[in-house]
Symmetry: D4
Subunit: 152 residues, 8 copies
């Protein structure tokens, strides 16, 4: 059963998460990856988010660009922590995505990471920090990763 | 039966639409006004948008601030034209709302107006222009309004 | 007789509309395409916009970059709905075009789409939504397009 | 016969030009002041700009806010030098007006000044510099003004 | 023993957290509040962050303005999840704080919330979501809060 | 004797003015071109600007990037009209140059054009408009250029 | 003989430096304060900067707003370290001043501080750090100030 | 014993400092170069900064990108003057780094230079200006460099 559910708005967003997925594998944390657009597949997004907790998922990560509604829409349908990664757009460079994710009105939080591949990597590390509070094995893997990182 | 459905994210957004509503009354166009948050009431937003067309509504207008998902979420649930009005936020002044509304990815359009009360007024005028294509009485009222505006 | 009139400020703007024009053909909606600069050909722009409605055109779409006056100038000469697409500029990346189109003062609305090719595609889809209110055949084509989009 | 024609988009823009007008009077340069909106009165703007040169006007100054098309539209109808003053807007603070005025595409220039009252004053001083090239009396008045300014 | 440690850069930041603290009390989650500047008290910040986990704290929240290093500096000294709240500054309105918090390079994540009081409230709600994964009583309190919020 | 003096901050700025210089030749307006940095050669800039008017120069054009002081420094040493062209910088894309040129405090005006090659071309056209007020041959050449431009 | 020369563009800039001047007095560092505009008094600025080193001044501090050329112009006339403080402007809030000061091209450096009163205070503290390298009494005063600051 | 300590957040930042290091060699000023991340190696950064003054270092230069805490963290651990160079990031182009460095709250100053390689070069020139106040040989080398620069 995956701990983390990752949702991307489109197939073309996947390269930004390549290194992030490798990090999850290095940490040995199970995850699943979906491609769902908040605007084109609202029903599937609702279904996925509503059932995530009962399926055992503990953290959601969503990457989206432009009017990046995906993280907030997921958060509207679940009480699980949602981490949002603003993805670059060709002209506004992800500043649009950043504002659309970070400026959530009070009531329904989304945890915003930095723009693009940096943020995708930090999203999985932040998920690992959350899961470490509850799962000893993940905590150990994360501490080992962080110690190794200090040496590099 | 109202032609236009207006949805605002919160009661505190209403002042930005005051003059816009007066303009609709001046034009004699029927409308209804709802207060629904995309993030706090996703189910009600879905229900409202999904049924709007069958209830006879022809244009939706949504005002929202910050990570302003409301216009895009409405548009994800309906094929009616959706007009979005970015509302000012206390620090980023509605630039966040603007990006979150105008930068819709291709596939599900939202028509973005200017920030705040200016945009609210233009939203109802743009709705009047759309309705004028089909309803003669609205076209006449709109043309009269515009002629009067030129004189002022 | 075309339903939609598209006006671009210069020949070099056409690539941004390539996929948008293909979408119109896919939808089977008739359109015409003009190259007119608001600043270099003000007389032709005035003539085109003033006569568009009597020629049967129902929606205008304009793409422009920089001090992108074209959509607003068209709107100043006609009561038809005008959809504006901010096109990228080499340095400010279309943020200048976005502000020059979206921040219309109250009285003469323009419906602003996202920057560049995304916005061009959404402009024609938004025009299709407007025309769907009146033309059954367009509504059917648009609903079919949208259903297919959901599957992709 | 006035040397300078000043056009403002609305009566509410006048306070930004108060000190500028006082400066013109101090310099003894004749001017006229019009209130015309590029979007609401396109015909009057066209007529005013087209006839300005034959009426003896040598420089046009235009102040406008938001999608500030006025200076560029004036410039599209005349060969006289046009000076544009971006006026503050309530949310974007005139950054929208600045982009809409300064980012003119090549072919039809507008001389952009700073935002608001600073820019209005500099617009009349810049007009005085232009007129000084041709009119000795204006040159003397301008040089005296500048010398006095150095002392203050 | 508090679950949440909140650190603010200065006493003057407290008003932004007033409603957030009330929300924590409503949820019945224990917390502690410190005033420590990353730049003026680096030793105390180091000590606080290094010992937080062993003292039983599970989530850190930090609010800071300007070159807002506090959340990242806390995160550099601990493996606990750190939530950052960008606080408004008098001129750049917290956009500086936002960039300084959200754009963390990969390796050491910080979860960024919206600017100001909105973000402070969402920070405590996000902390509640994290704690809900492990603590049943907090999950129940949070679900009740959220249900009540939907009714308001 | 040249009518127009063009000053660029460095040799590397010249490509932005290539087409502008060609336009001046097309118009048959004499000019001279200098390479002087406001910050590295303040004495030469002072000398050049102070003597320009007595040498018969009527308009100055300056292109500069970054903390683009050159146009303002020229204007501080002369009463001739100074036209500033903000040049692109590698990271901020000329937005820094734009602010440093356009936001002149009241008292010493600079006429700002658009960023980069667009602005360079408009600078020479604006200079031609200024010179047209006084020189009939330039006015004729400029009007012919503009008529040809309309045809293209 | 003052160690520090402070130059402000206008009398109205003085309030931003009030607390900074108090800090200098607290530190017992001698300074002098001038009001000189880079654009209106280029000759006096040149004279002041050229002679500062021979008069015994060791650090220059300049505050300016808008197209804030003052720090760079001072730096063009002297080899002393120049510290620049961007002052707020009414619309762009000092972002214009920041870009005009910080983005100095390579060759003539200016040390930029934060916008407004924060930056003015840091400018005098940074000057104290520079002077501490050479003057033991200033170093002691500065270290005492910093220790006291840690306690507050 | 080096006069200047340069700290970069990562090996990949070195190219921005290539020309700067060459300038230091041209000036004959001794320096040392470290690679330390504020977030990944907080202990080493603390140790380096705390001991720099006793090791004879007189000026610190730090280059960092994104949430660029490094210059401020160094400054929190030492009383030496710290010069910060904001390095470009792939999406926000170093605007994030600029804000994170320049907007230091009052109390702990950092001298901010321009973004990227420009700023790196100016950082070493500014360090040379500081050291010139105390070291005659450096002053002579710096004056010779500046005179040569004027000729180029």
């Amino acid at each position: 059963m995956p701990h983390i559910g990752i949702v991307l708005g489109s197939k073309s967003d996947e390269p930004y998460f390549q290194e992030a997925l490798r990090t999850l594998e290095e940490l040995g944390i199970e995850y699943e990856l979906q491609f769902l657009s908040a605007h084109r597949h609202p029903d599937k997004v609702r279904e996925y988010a509503s059932k995530a907790a009962t399926r055992g998922i503990e953290v959601l990560i969503a990457g989206a660009g432009g009017a990046a509604a995906l993280p907030g829409v997921l958060a509207s349908w679940t009480s699980l922590p949602v981490i949002g990664v603003p993805l670059p757009t060709s002209e506004l460079k992800g500043l649009d995505s950043l504002y659309a994710i970070v400026q959530m009105p009070p009531g329904v939080p989304v945890a915003c990471m930095s723009i693009g591949a940096w943020g995708a990597r930090n999203a999985v590390l932040f998920a690992a920090q959350i899961l470490s509070l509850k799962h000893d094995s993940i905590r150990k893997a994360y501490e080992a990763y962080r110690a190794a990182q200090r040496e590099r």
